[in-house]
Structure formats: C-alpha cells, structure tokens
C-alpha cells in the first residue's frame, strides 16, 4: 500500500517537474501553482501540529509572517548570505517561535489552546507593524521582496520561481513522509489520541508536543517565505491576518487531518475553488454577473463545505480519494 502510494506520488512529482514547465501560461504558474505550493506547505506544517499531534492552531499566518520577515531580515542584515541559506535559517527562527508559542500547549488542549494561539496571531502582527527594524527601517511600511539570487543566477521568470518552490516543497514533503512514519510520528498520534495512554507507553508527552510545534513552525515559516518571495513578492503584516490562518485550517479540514496528501488536496481545492466559482458565475449568471456576489457565494460555499466535511467526511478529500480508488480497484 505504502509503496504504491509512493510510486504515485513520485509520478505526480515527475509530471510537475518535467512536463508542467513546458506549459506556456504565466497565469498557471503565477496565480495557481506557486500559491498552491506555498499553501500546501503551510497546511503540511499545520497538519503536523493539528492533524498528527492534535494541537489546533489559529495562528498559522503569524508564523508565515515570521518566516517571511526572517528571510528578509537575514538577507538584509547578514551580508553575503545566500538565499538558500537564509530560507532554512528563517525556518529555524520560526521553529523557535513555534516552540515559544507552543508552551501553553503543554498545559492546554482543544479550543483553549486554539484561543491561546490567537495571542500569537495578534502579537506577531503587532510586532512587525510596530518596529520598523524588521522592515529595514523602510518608511513605506510594505516591503517589496528583493530579487532572489541563487549562485549568481536571478530567479525571475514564473517558471523559475515555480521550480524553486517545487524543489523546496519536494524536499520538505519527503521529510514529512519520513517523519510521520517514524517513531516520533507515531508518538504524535499517540499523544493526540490519548495523552495518558501515551505516557503509559513511555512517551515523553511534553517533548513530543514541543517537537511538533517546532517542526510545524519550520514548515509554516518556509511556506511564508515562499509566499512572500515567490508569490505576492511583497511583505506586509496585513498580508498574514487571521483570515489567512483560518484558510490554512480550512485546507487541512477539507483535505484531511493527519494526512500528507490531504494538505495538497485541500490546498489545490482552496486555490482553485474561487477561480472555478468566478468562471462558473460568469458562465451561469451572464448579464447580471457581479463579481462581488461571487465572492460572497464563495464564502458561503466554503463555510458550508467545512461543516459538511466535518459532519460527513472528517478525513477530508484524502479519504474520499482513497475510497474512490478502492472502489475502482474493486470494480476492475
């Protein structure tokens, strides 16, 4: 089972690496694939924390902000630092932040923890808004992400940016798969399902929770950096608000909690849904088409889907897909 899944994943990755770059559409890369990869990574990070280790966070966007600002500040204040060093560096900084804000999780569970992560959300946004040092003293407030150089080569075209994002995502995904199959990954699940039982099994619950926070922070931080440098190419605190935190949570609810591919499926769904809706709205409503209403409809549909999935398919799209492929196997 695992092996056939690995082969499928590898095949999909191969297509994205080799075939997709030949598609001549800036739109595909700039507006769909790059945000898809960034959101997937963030969702992967949140899924490690929330799906596997059972600690729901409402502050993901704040950690994305930490990743983005850390990358910017590392490149700004450390002379001659290559981007490919700054990126994991920012991930590590975010991991430390994850540890700090994860401390309440040692004593709290459920929505008590969720509420305490809101503290992170607001505090981090405040810090980046208030202290100009983080923005390199820029008075205009919104930073334009400087161009990326890798070994003297400037990453500028959409395809180049896409390939960079894909490479980072591939490495992190492989690591995530290894992680969840490892002893640590199994301990995550044990802690999530029953802390007391986990303790009895000899698992150091506190350590496991903190590891989850740190790794999750690392992933989300890198996702934030990719989002800032490869996608919107600006860095501003308002771009990482509570709504974005919710969206990442929605991604893993829709995609499937405690599932690697769930993060990707959910992200794909969330990135593509608005585009489908506006296209469908244009086709269906014709003359009375008002783009504003489509956005409201999107909000309503998203909310309804969240509830429906929680009610009917708590394992999300990932489980739907698995069932679908099982059925197909059964019939053939």
């Amino acid at each position: 089972m695992n092996r056939s899944r690995d082969v499928t994943a590898l095949a999909i990755f191969g297509v994205f690496l080799v075939a997709v770059p030949f598609i001549k559409s800036d739109y595909l890369f700039n507006a769909i694939l790059i945000p898809f990869i960034a959101v997937s990574l963030a969702a992967l990070g949140l899924n490690i924390l929330a799906g596997y280790a059972g600690q729901v966070s409402l502050g993901s966007a704040a950690f994305m902000a930490i990743g983005a600002f850390s990358t910017y500040d590392l490149l700004l204040y450390v002379p001659h630092l290559p981007f490919l060093v700054a990126l994991p560096g920012a991930g590590l900084i975010t991991a430390v932040a994850g540890l700090v804000f994860g401390l309440p999780g040692l004593r709290l569970r459920g929505f008590y923890l969720a509420i305490s992560t809101l503290a992170a959300q607001f505090f981090v946004q405040w810090v980046f808004t208030t202290f100009p040092w983080f923005q390199g003293g820029d008075t205009s407030g919104v930073i334009t992400a400087p161009p990326i150089f890798i070994d003297g080569f400037q990453v500028s075209t959409p395809v180049e940016r896409y390939l960079l994002a894909l490479a980072v995502a591939a490495i992190l995904t492989v690591f995530a798969i290894a992680l969840v199959r490892s002893r640590v990954g199994q301990s995550f699940l044990a802690v999530r399902d029953n802390e007391l039982a986990a303790k009895v099994l000899g698992i150091n619950v506190l350590k496991i929770k903190l590891i989850a926070c740190a790794i999750s922070g690392f992933y989300i931080g890198i996702a934030g950096a990719l989002w800032a440098y490869l996608y919107v190419r600006t860095i501003e605190p308002a771009g990482y608000d509570l709504d974005h935190s919710f969206q990442i949570l929605f991604v893993i609810i829709l995609g499937g909690l405690a599932s690697i591919r769930g993060a990707f499926l959910g992200a794909a769904f969330l990135v593509v849904l608005p585009l489908l809706l506006s296209r469908g709205g244009a086709a269906l409503l014709g003359p009375n088409f008002d783009s504003g209403y489509v956005d409201l409809a999107e909000k309503i549909i998203l909310g309804a889907l969240i509830i429906l999935f929680l009610r009917l398919e708590p394992q999300g799209l990932s489980a739907l897909l698995a069932r679908f492929s099982l059925n197909r196997k059964a019939t053939t």
Partner: protein
C-alpha cells in the same frame, strides 16, 4: 500622579469592558448547555444588526423591526442548532468549534448577500455625550449599555433560578446524560438557548452598531470577547461580566500607561496575554466550573 485622570481611565476601561461582556454572555449560554464554543456569535451579531437596520431603513418602526429581527434571529438559532450542531453531537469540542468557524463564514457571507455591503448609521436616540460630573467624563451611552447588560444578567438570573425552563436549562448544563435520562428534551432546551443567544446577539449588535456604525467589522467583536471568556470562565454568566470588566480595565490601563513606551496600539493583544496568563494559572477562569481540557 493625576488621580482624576486615573479614575477616568478606570471608569472608561470598565465601561469598555461592559461592551465585551454583552457579546460574551451569548457565548456562555450556548457553551453552558451544549458545550459548543460558538465562534459564529460575532457574525450573528453582524447579521442581527444588519437585518434590523435594513428593516428600519425600509420604514418599519423601531419596535416592529426589533421584533421581526428577533423572530429571524430565533429562527436562525433554531436552524443552526438543528442543521449544523445536532448532527455533530458527540464530536470532540474542537470539531464543534471548527464547525462554528465555518458557520460564521456562511452567516457573514449571507448577511452581505441579503443586505448589501453598505455602511449604515444606527441611532438609538441615546446621545454619546459625557455627563457633566466634575472632571471625570462618563458617557450617557456607556451608562445605558451597562444598564442593558445588567438587566440581561438579572433577567437571565431570575429565569434560570425560578422557572421550569431555567431548571431544565440548569439540569442540561449540569449533566447532559443525566438530564436525558430524566426525560428532559434536550433538543428543545438547545433550541431555546440558541434563540436566547440570537436575542443577545441582536442587543449586542444594536449597541455596538450604534457606536461603530453597522458594517462588516461588527463581526470582529467576537475576537474581543474570546479573552473575556477565558478570564471569566466559559460557563459563567457572572464570569462573562467580571471577565469583561477585567479585560476592559487591563486593556485601557495598559494602553494608557504602558503602551506609549513600547510603540502603542497594544490593546489588540494585551487581552490575549491576560487570557493566556489566566489559562496557565487558573484554567477554569474566575468563575468557571467545568473541568478544563488540560493535561
């Protein structure tokens, strides 16, 4: 030390807190009976205020618009309970919480879909002007809000203590399974609770709307009342009031006396910092009873 200024700060902090309490009470009611932390309370508040103001602008007199909106809110509450939450019964609290997150998206989108996105003025006929009390300024409007909050708490207290519905409510809050065993119809209690929460959302929406104008950002007041709940306890109406006062007071004092030294604008997160401190030291909140999910 400027004492009259300090007194002014304290009073205005407490009154700001009352506004948070008004929202928090709605949370407490639902949490008490069904164990759901209803994140959609904020969007219900927006929906209520928007519905009322739109009906009022259509030419309906104040009270008719009020009653009509109330009816809509009760209906909405009952529907939410039936369609969204009852099927999720027995799920862990965090799942229910996430469901209400989805719910808030539906209500926010729906409210704007139906009533549009314009900013409305809402005038309740109570001027937001200071009462002349020496050098300390207290707004008439704030006093009115405090009165309303007090009245709501008093009425709820009386109803809970002295009526059959109240008894059933308390039984449900005390132990759902036991209540079920004694033949209590829990769904009816829940429906009533959601209806009352709808009423509180309407009152809160009107008071907040009169201050800020009726607009989209009304739904954001939910973020101000979450720390109130943590501080006061999720299942205590008195806690919601005291928590609100404490949060309002802390915010205002910190913003005035500490904020200027660390860049200002801290009252967005200072409430959460307070809540966090409470969670770590006294996880049930000041008045909470139910054992908190903690290690």
């Amino acid at each position: 030390m400027d004492w009259s200024f300090l007194i002014g700060v304290v009073i205005s902090g407490l009154l700001a807190g009352v506004m948070y309490s008004l929202v928090a009470i709605g949370f407490v009611l639902i949490y008490k009976t069904s164990g759901v932390l209803n994140f959609a309370q904020g969007s219900m508040l927006l929906f209520a205020a928007l519905t009322f103001v739109s009906l009022h602008e259509e030419g309906l007199p104040f009270w008719i618009a009020f009653v009509l909106t109330l009816a809509i809110m009760v209906l909405l509450g009952v529907l939410i309970e039936k369609i969204v939450l009852r099927p999720l019964i027995n799920q862990p609290p965090i799942t229910l919480f996430m469901a209400t997150l989805g719910l808030s998206y539906i209500i926010e989108g729906g409210a704007q879909f139906v009533w549009g996105t314009q900013v409305h003025q809402l005038d309740l006929g109570i001027a937001d002007v200071p009462l002349p009390l020496n050098s300390i300024l207290i707004s008439q409007f704030d006093i009115f809000c405090a009165g309303v909050a007090g009245a709501i708490v008093a009425v709820l207290g009386v109803v809970l203590q002295y009526t059959r519905v109240g008894l059933a409510f308390r039984a449900a809050a005390f132990d759902q399974y036991a209540a079920l065993n004694t033949g209590l119809r829990l769904p009816r209690i829940w429906a009533i609770t959601w209806g009352v929460a709808g009423f509180i959302a309407l009152v809160g929406g009107l008071l907040w709307g009169a201050r800020t104008g009726v607009q989209f950002s009304l739904s954001l007041v939910v973020l101000k009342s979450l720390p109130v709940l943590v501080v006061g306890g999720f299942d205590s109406i008195i806690g919601a009031i005291v928590g609100g006062l404490l949060v309002g007071l802390t915010e205002t004092l910190m913003e005035v006396y500490v904020g200027p030294f660390i860049g200002g604008g801290i009252d967005q997160w200072i409430a959460y910092a307070l809540a966090l401190a409470f969670l770590l030291i006294k996880p049930t909140g000041l008045f909470g009873q139910r054992s908190v999910e903690r290690v």
